[in-house]
């Protein structure tokens, strides 16, 4: 198996083509298909190119909602599948919390722990991003209550009241989150998600505090003072909310935040903002949870987006999923649940995903992909700046770190139209926030892919103008 990629997009039909439409109709008898874009031929997809069932080959700058780390059908991953020593990990999925396989500690060490955030030597795998955050929240609640108790022995009243969902066993604790944030869609996570109404509508929730996330003005260098004021305003609001919710009898056990609000519109804040937020958490005795489900895995040019803050002690908990292929969270030692079966479920992750992750990390190191991302990201952002200068009424607020970039379009309708037009020209893009396009290529997106993309994007914009 040699590394092999197509030399560019190749379009045979509009997208979705006739075969995709037929399959969408078929699937519509089984599921709601309102979100289906088209059907894929994953066998024929390679590297940065996704091939659909009508033979269209598209440059993928969205990568399955940012979840494909090193492109489609990477030879290293295919090779892993042909190694007979690995078969058992796929065929016999264990209950990891009680009966782990022999190589589990070694696999964790060579995969997840080899990229552990600063200050963290402990990690818990989970099946997906939502479960990772749910369990991270539970870990923070458990830690907080033991801190309140001064010991970890629950009272008889704790034990009996929790069985019927009542306090003190089920305490009125809260997680502070940010407007525009996205942390998943299960009910605990959903109470901290505030990016789109359709995610939350009709689902009961918790009365938890929600702080404003800074709305920075661009270009950053022209609005230094305003942006600093905006960040200070948000931090002040965070402290006010912590005090207010403590007074309400619903103390904030933890603060959860994304390094870049991804679903919510690629909203950035400065390293100083995060440093100050970390200090506020510490001052008020709240755990600090950095959700790297979308930002983690290298797309910002560092393995974790929080590394851009330059802190030795960036967080108490860092959760991940998507490009890491397995979900889970790292945590500082104090955040480990004090007793077994408190953080637990049947599968607790999936060792077959750890196998893939270990190989992905090998590829990232061998091919210096973080440097590639930094290089491609510079070219991408530079290209976006140029386009934004060229189409000032249409584009604004080009921003990003590594290839984790975004740009705003003048309105929602135009944004959606650009995404569809680009697709028909062979480029897959995704939206985020109210009127942004987010760029989420795989780590193997090289400078020549950037230029290929920018040319097509330019064509689309020229037609719109």
């Amino acid at each position: 198996q040699v590394e092999f990629e197509y030399d560019g997009p190749s379009m045979k039909t509009q997208v979705p083509g006739p075969r995709s439409q037929e399959l969408t109709k078929q699937l519509g008898d089984i599921q709601n298909v309102g979100a289906v874009h088209f059907f894929c031929n994953y066998e024929e997809s390679r590297g940065n190119y996704l091939v659909d069932v009508d033979g269209n080959r598209m440059l993928d700058v969205y990568t399955q909602i940012s979840s494909i780390p090193i492109g489609y059908n990477h030879p290293a991953l295919l090779k892993l599948m042909t190694n007979p020593n690995n078969l058992s990990a796929f065929v016999n999925r264990p209950a990891l919390g009680i009966l782990p396989p022999e190589n589990f500690p070694d696999k964790l060490t060579e995969s997840l722990l080899s990229v552990a955030p600063s200050g963290m030597t402990r990690v818990q795998t989970m099946a997906c991003g939502s479960c990772s955050n749910e369990n991270a929240y539970k870990a923070m609640f458990i830690w907080y209550r033991n801190k309140e108790r001064g010991h970890n022995t629950p009272s008889d009243e704790d034990l009996s009241s929790c069985m019927i969902n009542q306090g003190p066993g089920c305490p009125d604790l809260s997680i502070l989150s940010f407007m525009g944030g996205f942390h998943g869609r299960t009910m605990g996570c959903l109470a901290t998600t505030h990016s789109k109404a359709i995610h939350k509508l009709d689902v009961p929730s918790f009365d938890w505090p929600i702080a404003p996330f800074p709305k920075l003005q661009y270009p950053l260098e022209e609005f230094t003072r305003e942006n600093a004021q905006e960040e200070a305003r948000c931090l002040e609001e965070v402290e006010d909310l912590i005090v207010k919710w403590r007074q309400k009898g619903k103390p904030v056990a933890g603060i959860v935040i994304e390094p870049i609000q991804a679903e919510g519109g690629d909203n950035h804040a400065s390293p100083d903002f995060f440093k100050n937020l970390r200090n506020i958490a510490r001052k008020h005795g709240c755990a600090f949870h950095v959700d790297e489900v979308q930002t983690g895995g290298g797309a910002t040019g560092k393995f974790w987006a929080h590394e851009h803050w330059g802190m030795d002690d960036p967080a108490d908990i860092v959760s991940f999923s998507k490009k890491l292929l397995t979900g889970g969270y790292y945590h500082r030692d104090e955040l480990q649940a004090d007793k077994p079966y408190r953080i637990f479920n049947t599968w607790m992750g999936d060792p077959s995903k750890n196998l893939f992750l270990a190989e992905v990390l090998n590829v990232i190191r061998r091919e210096n992909l973080l440097e590639e991302v930094t290089r491609s990201g510079k070219a991408l952002l530079h290209g976006l700046y140029e386009l934004q200068a060229q189409y000032p009424g249409l584009l604004s607020r080009a921003r990003g770190q590594g290839t984790f970039c975004a740009i705003d379009i003048r309105d929602d309708a135009t944004r959606n139209s650009i995404i569809l037009k680009a697709r028909d020209k062979g480029v897959l893009l995704g939206g985020c926030g109210e009127r942004s396009i987010r760029f989420r290529p795989a780590l193997v997106f090289k400078e020549y892919h950037v230029h290929l993309f920018l040319n097509i994007f330019n064509d689309v914009l020229a037609q719109l103008k």
Copy 2:
């Protein structure tokens, strides 16, 4: 690859042996290992036998918390892995909700839909049992609110209030669950889980109604009248709670129940109880959700435990995971979310698990495994009755359907001691409830495995007496 199984347990050391202890210490630097039983050599495990890292070979009557459908390293599953056409499904995990693979509708049809519960033609896959139940609850809330509205167009107030976790957009709806039930550990699921305090302690919850689950007296034929009264009492309480919570302004959108309360102690109820409960749900306009995460997949002798109720319209939602290898839920047409992205996440399941499931279902049909289970289950329950007659002070309440059996031990300490002693003799068992042992063999557990198990179990009991 020929089908191959060991001819019995073979023990080299106490369990955990020295190698397991060494690995537990190693893993203890990374995770809480309080729940780890021992480390496994999955490569050497076969059929009903789990081999550990110290070379001990044990008859597995617990099967990774009831999640291994057709034993370890089944040749059919290994063969599937060597088919090059399947590689892509493992290496390229799609965002199923937007970009499904070409064979997805066909794979759903040949796998999950081929065993769909009566009255259901629609299924949504999810990554695990908790996510399945969380999304099933969301589907019930969405359905209920649209019913309340009389249409599915949310008001501006709905849309703005839900963004900040407040009503009417985040309504005060509830799910009615049962004391002793287990439905998962994420925060929505956990509010309906009431089996052990350690699962719930310190985690905020919802004020949702909790009904008593019938406590049947055994042998059933001696307590017909008492058990009927007990079931009537519980049903009456259900109706009272529905009325009470409606008056409290927290209407019951759905009722969730297991056909056999599994974690909670293998608590059974009669088909009449479930029929009446289904009718109460219908009468009060609540959705009826049957959680078959542990009971589904054939262990009761029917593919779904609810089939024993003999109803054409058993439920509005049936959720599954574990032996089905993928999580998810079936639902009646009305329970489908009206708009895309309401029930959604990045992965929405995993097509590689659907591949395995399709093959597992082929094996179940080809080898008539449901009949085997019925036969083995009769032998198992008969054997338990005999042992219970032989050790009346020690054992009681033998019960079960298919091989999904349990027996009560005189107290918690004795129960735990029996499980450990059986393990050192080469039989793996699990506990449930306060003092029960649950039997959860794979579907390939034949009559001779039953006798092998009963002999060893008898030895353990004889030593205890």
